[in-house]
């Protein structure tokens, strides 16, 4: 599903990711921990095809990147720090726009609006909604096309407990055993993150400092990454 071998990504002279190698099987959840600037977001953007690796090899959904990126797009859902939505448009207009890009029906949009409990506010411009509501629309956007690989950058930020409960089924592993969903989640919450993880990656200054099955990771080791 995901195979990284010696992945390097630079911004100018600075290496944001150095020598990252890992393997994530279909249906597994990889949770990435690390302080700000450790390379978590960069890793998600490389996996989503938005950034290229400068060295090493990257394979996502069985396709080699960047050569076969076209075959990966549309099968990946990215929830980043930015909602990737237009502030001037309403939630419904934004989702309908994305539905058209992914060749999905308007019914799918209504279904997702209902799933994030925003049907009654769907015709208000996004700029008038609260941060938490915009985060819910962003989750609806990222999962609109039911992606096989879900890349979530701190998905619980800006969400109250009720909203977390609401979106849990949308960003979960999925209930269809014939189509298991693989997830890569970046998190700063050791206990919350570990409860979701099959595999844990700890990054420090772009380098892997921890890579192990979640069951064998102690929360103290994650806390150590931030010291």
């Amino acid at each position: 599903m995901i195979e990284l071998d010696g992945l390097v990504r630079r911004y100018g002279e600075r290496e944001a990711l150095s020598d990252v190698s890992l393997s994530v099987a279909s249906g597994q959840t990889l949770v990435v921990f690390g302080p700000n600037g450790a390379g978590k977001t960069t890793l998600l953007r490389v996996l989503s095809t938005l950034l290229r690796a400068h060295a090493g090899s990257v394979s996502v959904l069985g396709k080699s990147l960047p050569e076969e990126a076209w075959a990966v797009r549309g099968r990946v859902g990215l929830l980043g720090h930015e909602p990737l939505l237009y502030r001037e448009l309403t939630a419904r207009e934004n989702l309908r726009f994305h539905a058209r890009l992914h060749d999905l029906s308007a019914e799918r949009v209504e279904e997702r609006l209902a799933a994030v409990s925003l049907t009654d506010r769907a015709d208000e411009p996004l700029k008038t909604l609260s941060r938490g509501m915009v985060a819910r629309v962003a989750i609806a956007r990222a999962t609109l096309h039911d992606p096989e690989l879900l890349l979530l950058d701190e998905p619980w930020a800006n969400l109250d407990p009720a909203a977390r409960e609401l979106i849990e089924p949308l960003i979960g592993v999925g209930s269809d055993p014939t189509r298991p969903r693989t997830r890569v989640i970046s998190s700063h919450d050791p206990s919350g993150g570990l409860s979701e993880a099959d595999l844990v990656l700890g990054l420090r200054a772009g380098r892997p400092a921890l890579l192990r099955e979640a069951a064998r990771v102690d929360p103290g080791e994650i806390a150590e990454l931030y010291r």
Binding site: L51, R52, E82, L84, R87, E88, L89, H102
Partner: protein, 224 residues
Amino acid sequence: MRRTVAALLRKELLVELRTLESVPGMSLFAVTTFVVFHFALNQNSVSGDEAAGILWVTLLFAAMLGVNRLFVADQDQGGFDAFLLAPVDRSAMLLAKALALLAYLIVLELVAVPAFGLLLLGPSLSQALPDLLVVLLLADLGIAVIGTLVAALAVRTRARDLLGALLALPLLVPVVIGGARATSPLLGLTHAASPPIRWLLTLGLYDLVFGLIAYAVFDFLLED
């Protein structure tokens, strides 16, 4: 492809209708420039080469305002990333943005050309109008394609406003020359029967060449 272009164009026009960030600014700039020319030239009316020059330079600089804003919402609000993650032909964005810019230019000219006729032009505009529309359309196509190409290149840089103008203006000089030369006889004191065909062909050829260049390179401009 058609469905994607329609979705992108619809989004583009909706965002512009809600923000009014491009077209009103472009139109106001053009009208204000004509007023400034009216006083600066210290004459009541212009015609021929002078009129064509003033019209095209003003339209070009007004168009630059729209060019500089063309991708700003996409870049600042993440629309670029969302589009790049979708399984669609990326040329759709080139086409949709160029069509949106073309629409902005047409609205600009609906305001600017009559204002030019009222404020500066000596000869009557009504006689020249049918031929002028042909010249405007050909020049607009060139501005739309080149403007979209340059805006996509500039928007990811820090000095996007400066870089957009620095890249676009040299590339648009032939459009201004072609537009002005084709328009000049139409705005003379003795109205010509039609614009010089060679300048219309020059504009058409320039549009075609840059249309093909833009189609060939646009995908690479969107890549990391």
